[in-house]
């Protein structure tokens, strides 16, 4: 009965007029971001953070969440019509979606993508609601010891499932932790790595870092590749899929949703891994696998469902335990902290309106997306015609003003400039910046809980192993590390991520 009450509370929050407006704004911005290749949801959310300071916490989170899952919808439009993934999560949709468009079935592909996304979004919302209650009960048993182990698990698992080299990702986590230590030490008042710069005494702001690393670094690297965009210029019609199409797509949708929901909860999974797995699964199950790559409808329905379900369930660790599963969730945590909410296992009991409001708004937002996406498809297509040569200077300018606006500080603009150069360097040497952001955001909490745990145990490191919940969490960490180092898994992981760019 608890669940029902909670959902009711959530719906009453989500349906407040200004929250509805923020949700709509979020999904519209998100779709636009998803449609436009060349700017991802991470810099967008970073860019919009300063605007959310004036909102209440629930409204801010609802809008930012809307941007995230809105981007998943928008990304598929570009994938199908232009064969360029608007988002990394829609890479797979390109394969069969664009092929369908070339065969004159763009309308069907777009509609199936939207329907699959909506179906998955709805199911994932239910999964979140059902899973949240037992997780939050467990979370209440947490002390500093368990929370430290949980943070370690979050960081390691995010690395294990992310793209790229494991060792490099671990190094990036450490780098992020180090950057997180910059500033005045809370317990002793000593300045750490501030180099006498007053702006650094509160620590490094993560927004300029995220914008520099993810936004500007990415833009510079994009400009090095010659832009290639060919929009399928046919009129998009037949937006209502036939009964046969729906019958072919529905089982794939179901499987994609289930797969996405499970993979999304895992840290680091987010929305990138599920579509690849779903595509592989559909191809394996198909009677005639050779149809894939030539416009198979299951190749659109499954991955699209998986990617939306995954995007949504990746909120579970954030909403119940207060730890982010990926870089974007790290930004959300940052948004909460700026609102004065301390993320952690107590978040659900202390902020029920916020948590359930966000959960309920996800379903509302998904419904909005279905309604606005298909009729407005012409508008999104026309957005695709904005040339990148005009788009990117505008993004650069808005990044500058946005970074400045967080604290009215030019120091942050310089910090962003430095991070842009470093972000470009990271792309050149092939390392993912996402683990750095996780380390940066979780660093202060990790240190605080470690200190507290050590203080309680009188410096005995064994305390992390003698408490059962903590021991289980660390055992999972150890298993993950061992698995990552074992050669067979390494090979499988490479194969699983091989299709990704």
């Amino acid at each position: 009965m608890d669940l029902f009450d909670n959902l009711l509370l959530g719906l009453s929050t989500a349906l407040e007029l200004n929250n509805l407006g923020l949700c709509l704004l979020g999904v519209l911005i998100g779709t636009a971001i998803g449609v436009l290749p060349g700017i991802g949801p991470i810099p967008t959310v970073a860019l919009l953070l300063p605007f959310t300071f004036g909102l209440n916490p629930a409204g801010a989170m609802i809008m930012l969440a809307g941007i995230f899952y809105g981007a998943q919808y928008g990304g598929s439009t570009t994938a199908i019509l232009v064969n360029v993934p608007g988002e990394t999560s829609s890479v797979v949709t390109c394969i069969d979606g664009h092929e369908m468009a070339k065969q004159g079935r763009a309308g069907t592909a777009l509609a199936i993508a939207a329907i699959a996304s909506f179906f998955a979004g709805t199911m994932a919302t239910i999964v979140i609601a059902v899973m949240s209650v037992p997780l939050s009960v467990l979370a209440l048993k947490f002390t500093a010891v368990e929370y430290f182990s949980l943070l370690v698990l979050g960081l390691i698992a995010a690395v294990a499932l992310a793209h790229g080299s494991v060792a490099k990702s671990l190094a990036m986590v450490l780098l992020g932790l180090l950057l997180g230590l910059v500033g005045i030490d809370v317990s002793s008042g000593a300045a750490r790595m501030t180099f006498g710069i007053a702006e650094l005494s509160d620590g490094l702001d993560f927004v300029p870092i995220a914008m520099g690393l993810f936004g500007l670094g990415e833009i510079i690297a994009n400009l090095e590749r010659p832009a290639e965009r060919r929009v399928v210029s046919q009129k998009v019609r037949d937006l209502i899929p036939s009964r046969a199409d729906l019958r072919a797509a529905f089982p794939a949708m179901l499987r994609g949703t289930a797969l996405g929901s499970v993979l999304g909860v895992l840290p680091g999974g987010g929305a990138a891994l599920p579509p690849f797995s779903s595509y592989a699964l559909e191809k394996k199950l198909a009677k005639d696998p050779s149809r894939f790559g030539k416009g198979a409808i299951e190749g659109v329905a499954g991955p699209e469902a998986a990617n939306n379900a995954g995007a949504q369930t990746s909120f579970i660790p954030l909403l119940t335990l207060g730890i982010p599963a990926n870089a974007l969730m790290a930004l959300m945590i940052g948004a909460l902290m700026m609102q004065g909410i301390q993320p952690g296992p107590q978040i659900m009991t202390e902020q029920p309106r916020l948590v359930w409001g966000v959960i309920a708004s996800m379903w509302v937002g998904n419904l909005m997306l279905l309604v606005i996406n298909l009729p407005l498809i012409g508008l999104w297509i026309s957005m695709l015609k904005i040339p990148y040569r005009l788009l990117f200077p505008a993004i650069v300018l808005f990044c500058c003003i946005g970074t400045y606006g967080i604290a009215n500080s030019l120091f942050n603009v310089w910090l962003m400039l430095g991070c842009a150069a470093i972000g470009y360097f990271f792309i050149k040497v092939g390392v993912e910046p996402a683990p750095l952001l996780l380390g940066l955001v979780l660093g202060p909490q990790l240190e605080e809980n470690f200190r507290r745990a050590m203080l309680l145990s009188d410096g005995d490191f064994l305390v992390f192993l003698s408490r059962p919940i903590s021991a289980v969490l660390l055992a999972v960490v150890a298993a993950l590390l061992l698995a990552m180092l074992s050669p067979t898994i390494l090979r499988n992981r490479k194969a699983a991520l091989a299709d990704s760019p």
Binding site: F51, A167, K168, L170, A171, L174, L175, L177, L178, L181, D185, S187, S188, A190, R192, M193, L216, I219, I220, L223, E224, A227, P387, Y388, R389, L390, F392, P393, A394, V396, L397, F398, C399, C400, I401, Y404, G405, N408, L410, V413, W414, M416, L417, A420, A421, Y424, F425, K428, V429, G430, V431, E447, F450, R451, M454, L455, S457, D458, G459, F461
Partner: protein, 149 residues
């Protein structure tokens, strides 16, 4: 892509980590480290920096020993144009005001690509500058001047 006798990606990343950790160890050399039961401000920085140093040395070693893909050559035009645009914004925003800083930033950033044409960029920059002033100063009340003081 050409292959090279060294893995330059590993090597450069390793050198970067070594430099960062060395800098951090140097910057925190005077902080009180304390011990596990009563950590000083320097405890975590020291632990994390040493870990980072170990990773850095590992990548340096691996980069020297094994072959890898060469790094694609750096194209200076986009890199310098975007960084210069941000730098100029930082230098001008508070002195010359948002209106002028926005135009200069956009025009400079557009130099990042050869496709840009001034006849197109300048009107676009003026338009966006106006939009930025409206949005950020009039609507969001950002405390930055519109015109030079």
């Amino acid at each position: 892509m050409t292959r090279s006798g060294k893995d330059w990606r590993d090597l450069l990343f390793g050198l970067f980590l070594v430099a960062v950790s060395a800098g951090a160890l140097f910057a925190t050399r005077n902080l009180n480290v304390g011990h596990a039961a009563d950590m000083g401000a320097g405890y975590m920085p020291r632990v994390v920096s040493l870990g980072l140093l170990a990773f850095g040395l590992f990548f340096c070693g691996r980069g020297v020993r094994r072959a890898g893909l060469a790094i694609e050559p750096v194209q200076w035009r986009p890199l310098l144009a975007v960084l210069a645009a941000v730098g100029v914004f930082a230098l001008t925003a508070e002195k010359l005001g948002l209106a002028i800083a926005s135009v200069v930033t956009i025009v400079l950033a557009s130099f990042a690509t050869r496709e840009a044409r001034l006849r197109e960029t300048v009107p676009f920059a003026l338009l966006l500058s106006g939009a930025a002033v409206l949005l950020f100063i009039k609507v969001l009340a950002l405390p930055v001047p519109v015109w030079p003081r």
